[in-house]
Subunit: 345 residues, 2 copies
Amino acid sequence: MKHLTIGDIAKLAGVGKATVSRVLNESGYVSAKTRERVEAIIAKNTFTPSAAARNLSRQESDTVGVVIPEAGNSFFAEVLDGISNVADTSDLRLILCNSGNMMERDLKILHIMSQQRVKGVIYTPAVAYSSPPNLAAIKTAIERLGVPLVLLDRPIDNLHLDGVFSDNFGAARDATLALIQAGHRKIGIVAGDPNLTIGRERFRGFQEALNLHGLPFEKRYVVKGMFNTEIAYKNSLKLLSGGDRPSAFFIANNLNAIGFLKAAFELKLKIPGDIGCISFDRLDYLTDLNFPFSYLDRDVRGMGVEAMRLLLAKIERQHVARGDVVFPSKLVLLGSETMTDLPTE
Amino acid sequence: MKHLTIGDIAKLAGVGKATVSRVLNESGYVSAKTRERVEAIIAKNTFTPSAAARNLSRQESDTVGVVIPEAGNSFFAEVLDGISNVADTSDLRLILCNSGNMMERDLKILHIMSQQRVKGVIYTPAVAYSSPPNLAAIKTAIERLGVPLVLLDRPIDNLHLDGVFSDNFGAARDATLALIQAGHRKIGIVAGDPNLTIGRERFRGFQEALNLHGLPFEKRYVVKGMFNTEIAYKNSLKLLSGGDRPSAFFIANNLNAIGFLKAAFELKLKIPGDIGCISFDRLDYLTDLNFPFSYLDRDVRGMGVEAMRLLLAKIERQHVARGDVVFPSKLVLLGSETMTDLPTE
DNA sequence: TCGAAATATGGAACCGTTTCCATATATCCC
DNA sequence: GGGATATATGGAAACGGTTCCATATTTCGA
């Protein structure tokens, strides 16, 4: 299955390659007669121009790179939906890479994107690159890329890059305040990944709320969830089945919430009643079903759309004013944060 | 940000372009001394070879295309996770396109894939292409593509193409039989999209089960779900709130199930008890939480992995024996299919 | 009617690789 | 030591487009 080339078409139409190129791109001068003849030949002969040749010649590609850490995570699926829709209307191709939350793959992927000469990259880093050598590595990888880059959801420590983020600190604080408001005094957290800034920020927000009310921070009420359902489940089970457990939890994300809920249900704990909770991000199907579970709501698909728009702006005007987009989180209280029993103290 | 070329490296190292190319690809003869010198130059100077140039020269690309109908659907997110992991280990790039279940975009996307000169395509069609003109259109689009193609989940009517599928008919039949087994006699269906073969097959399987037991097929017990949560919700609400409703439903997929459950919950119907049901595919978070909802289980991620493997096999040996892979569906009965009241007849 | 400007077209260089081929040198076996 | 063979290397021709430039023709205004 050999492909016809622009030269073949030119020969068939009895014109020069340049003319065929002009017809294809609707650029420059071409007489109506010639245009029609060339178009007829193309239609009859199944000609598909090679993107590689075009990209090489034009010294630019028609693709943007998308790097996500977990393709299976519904959060990123929804983000991707937003991204792909904007890409489609802008006639851009998407090269998708999945880091699996592994730093080494992250770095390798950026190198791949560079080889592909993408016009820009939307990037959710696998880790926060906190340690100096790692930071240096990611920094040079991004510099070598040499094209606009937009971070999505996760910042990189000590390296300011534009992106679409959330107010993780504030939202976590507000959620925790809502628990306090509801009467809880012994409050725990199903914490996220401390290797990620968003994990640490949500943790800080949680602590801040305790501070504001002079409540003590108890290390034993911290469940390591790691933004992972399985880990959150196991560790929640441990704390919840012990004698001394908090009356409420702030849960750092949706995956943690599922793990936590699984443990709670397994122990026949009632929510609310035995235990109150609020989680960061909605719980997909559960929320669709009006399951009375309180959460911090974000427009996830919108974040994808906005990331792509920001990237396009940066691609067009090479020096767009530095602008983070911070998406608001709206606290949606459906009852799971409440306390059935009055506080005992 | 100009990129260095192989020629620049060659000049710096005092060798020919061909030699640099040999070093990069570890092909042909290169003396150890020369190799080291070239590698040193490359390391020092940040050289990233252009994929476009390589592809053009080699007359083949390093990418495969993935066409999915809904990036936001968790089913495809999980499939994509499987696909991307295999692609990663095979050092292939993924070009992702999202048809949004629209036929026209489907066709346009295949054309894009052709321009990209992908090595192969994993393709979930937006529709079944049942009408002759549409069938002709998709047929020529695929022929023009001229590379191996693997269908995923959805066949194309009257055009046999290899792919990774499920036994939709048999699984739907067995699920419905399980409802009958549980004592139900008035059984409805929340049907899928009749524009899709999988929608029709699941419908047929449902009818077959009724037939096997001499139960009448009642058109008024059919809820049009269209594999869409919102539509399934609205139409379920209509039937469920009426006076004459079935005691059980076979639900054609996960999105339909969410819509159906939302309606049932809203009407305070208890499952099981007031109503029994089984759905095709698991309900993500709900299933994770051991929600007692019966479903037909498939290894979704595995389907993605298998599709990619099949594609790779076809790419390597151009004429791999025609082989569909049919993934089994396992019926997982957790109670929602049961009947609390004994049948009245 | 003439010259400038607009329109139309094709040749050829170029984009950055790979790969074929020719040539040169090193190695080896008898 | 000499011819066959293995090793090493670079020049040059692809690959399939785009675009600059030169040239030819047409249009148009004064």
